[in-house]
Amino acid sequence: MITAQRSLSGSSQSPRSPSSQPYLSVSVTDPVKLGNGVQAYISYRVITKTNFPEYQGPEKIVIRRYNDFVWLRDRLFEKYKGIFIPPLPEKSAVEKFRFSAEFIEMRRQALDVFVNRIAAHNDLQQSEDLRTFLQADEETMERLRSQETGIFKKKPADFMQILKDVQSKVSDVVLGKEKPVEESNPEYEKLKHYVFELENHLTEAQKHAYRLVKRHKELGQSLSDFGKAVKLLGACEGQALGKAFSELGAKSETLSVKLQKEAHQLLMNFEEPLKDYVRAVQSIKATIGERANAFRQQCELAETMKLKEINLDKLMLTRSDRVGEAEHEYRELKAESEEATRRFETIVRLMNEEIVRFQEQKTQDMGIAFHEFAKGQARLANSIADAWRSLLPKLEACSST
């Protein structure tokens, strides 16, 4: 399956293998602005190419918008607890950038990566919601999308609560609150610690990467301004020296363009992958929260079941006529408890698999990002060296006058 870390042009990825091998590949393309004023939004063409039997045909094209992707993510998060759901790009906070070319392109790329990661995941690719997302007509999609907003709106609050629980067990004890039930798994503790620390480190790295993009733009701008000023100075000086100045100014302006280009490359191929990494870690945190929930549920049910068992024994001793009822309740509870345990254990198992996959994936993603970064910097530096070097013979000619 294709990792699709950087699908630059959004062109559909053709399968590498003959149709006998199962494949599912998606591309998110053609962002188009629809609607007016405050209601305006971007829609994307989502092209699916597959030979999965569950799908309607070899190729399907639908129109989707950002909120549809959000719906898909939320559904997957609900259904596939324990799996690190691929992260979505953020909703843009700043209004004025919502429709800037750069932002739209970055978002399109991130959405493409999102869907393809789902398509590449052995479990997630089987999802019915995914099929719906990739095939349903727009009206159906809109209906589904608006249905879900009510139920899942509280998610952010939930999420925050979960995080608070995970992080504040000490304060709870201090405050005398009932201690929230926590796993006492040292390995898992280490993992949690790792995840939280990792987010901090990555956020910092991403911040600097973003600043570096800005620096490239600024240096480009200043080279352009410098070039213009030098040209004017050259015009004033005249003669050979003046000509030299003009050439310098022209080169400076050329380099300015190169710097702007590199800034864009840096943004797409280095800063964005880092941001994506941060988002991925945040997704893991969400899964950690789900695991904590599942653990708590399992514990609560186990407790309740024990109580019910004791009660049942009591009733049996006293030969109460409520024994039958109590037995029934107990059996139900037992089933629930076992279910809860199963759910929890599934999450644990899945997480263990996911973490391995995650680490490998990230090493791959980062490796590519670093490679692109280094290539870009080397290319830029070479351009700069070449441009300035080409001036030297001209300066030499100047000096002999």
Partner: protein
Amino acid sequence: MMGSENQGFEEAHLFASREEMENLVLDEPLSNHSSNNNNHQNNNSYSSYRSATSSLSDTTHHPLSPPILATPADSDPLLSPPLYRNPNASDNNSYIEPPSYADVIFSPFDENSVNEINGLESTSQNPESSLTLSRSPSSSSDYIKITVSNPKKEQETTNSIVPGGNAYYTYLITTRTNIPEFGGSEFSVRRRFKDVVTLSDRLAESYRGFFIPPRPDKNVVESQVMQKQEFVEQRRVALEKYLRRLAEHPVIRLSDELKVFLKVEGRLPLATSTDVASRMLDGAVKLPKQLFGESTAVVAPHEVVQPAKGGMDLLRLFKELKQSVANDWGGSKPPVVEEDKVFMEKKEWIHDLEQQLSNASQQAEALVKAQQDMGETMGELGLAFIKLTKFENEEGRFNSQKVRAADMKCLATAAVKASRFYRELNAQTVKHLDTLHEYLGLMLAVHSAFSDRSSALLTVQTLLSELSTLHSKAEKLEAASSKIFGGDKSRIRKIEELRESIRVTENAKNAAISEYERIKENNKFELERFDKERRTDLFNMLKGFVVNQVGYAEKISNVWAKVAEETSGYANDSS
């Protein structure tokens, strides 16, 4: 502007042979020698672009700055000393002819003088001189080398009531020269800033029409606001620059004023610039006498060679003001006008040049800042990844994490190296582009010289007017007295007096005209010198800037090419 030491005229030979290039690498690069710590600090104070320099000197807590990194660099494998600093390295010859500029590390312009400040004798050849055009091929063997050092706080020993007294700083000024007129080869004196002001004022009076380098500002506000240490250092640097520029000027270097300033120990034997009030007072005392004709109501010839306001001769001031108003608003043309069309054109051109210099200087400053920021952010990025590397190594459980940690380390090391290069590049860029700033400063001197000319012309015009007035007065009196037979004793006396005035004024006029002509000559001489030197200096600036950019761009490219290669495995996996 730049070093006056010349080893004779040498052709700017850009494509020097490899050995020549390697011989030019004189000093250990900044980062490898702890003894260069001071150099690094002092280099900072050279630049007039404070934003760049203040962060360059901000080496105390920035872990990336080379001199301080001595200890961590040893222990931290990530920051091992850069390997590229081998001038004999033959790798990366990206350009077959000439050799790669990456191998040439240019030491800063005034490296030698930096050493001198620290008391180190520098006998090394200035690398710039063999690559750059030198300016005065004729005076190739004589030199004046001035150093300003050792600021000391001293107390004013005047009879002040306040026990603390006024404190001021003195600076040790050391001169080394082989010019015979100085009568000595090495001498030192202590001077304070007030002395420098005096020197500057006296030079302005004696050398009208010359482009006299402007003296450092008094910086009254800054002296209150800045840290004393920083201010004193800033002033020391400025003084040194100023004195060196004076020493470079072919005429002023031989002036008595400068000689005396540099050589005579103790109190500076130059007339101090008396304060305005007392001069006004002098002028006011003279005025009534002049108005009532008790003394010669004319300008004495020897005074004529001074500008009017310098001597504070109020009457003369009034007359010249009247004349200038007549010139500007009066119907008739003044008797003598600036006729030199060439000069007028030149003046306009200078004005244009000044604007362009100012603009370019501003943009240069912005460029320097942008380069500085780039280096800083690159370094911070590197640091962030170093932290990540450590983190993944410490808490990693999987092999994939170890691999990632290694990749990050590779990137981080490169980023830190690149950051260092950017900062070094910038330190050099600052020095090169400083030329723009310096020529902008010189514009003041040019304006001054031109205004010397105009004021001298005004004096001539005024005297000519006065002469014609006196002549017509005399004619009238003679015509009137000739009608009276035997003459009128008082009238005859008056005519005699007038004739005397005419004679004196005639002399004054001649003196004024000579002065004006002299100043015109000085202007011409200076303009020619200015043209030549400016072209040379700007050319050197361009070349220095370009070579510098090429060299560091190559270095930076190499650093990243290595990383690209080491991560090339990932490239094969994607498309």
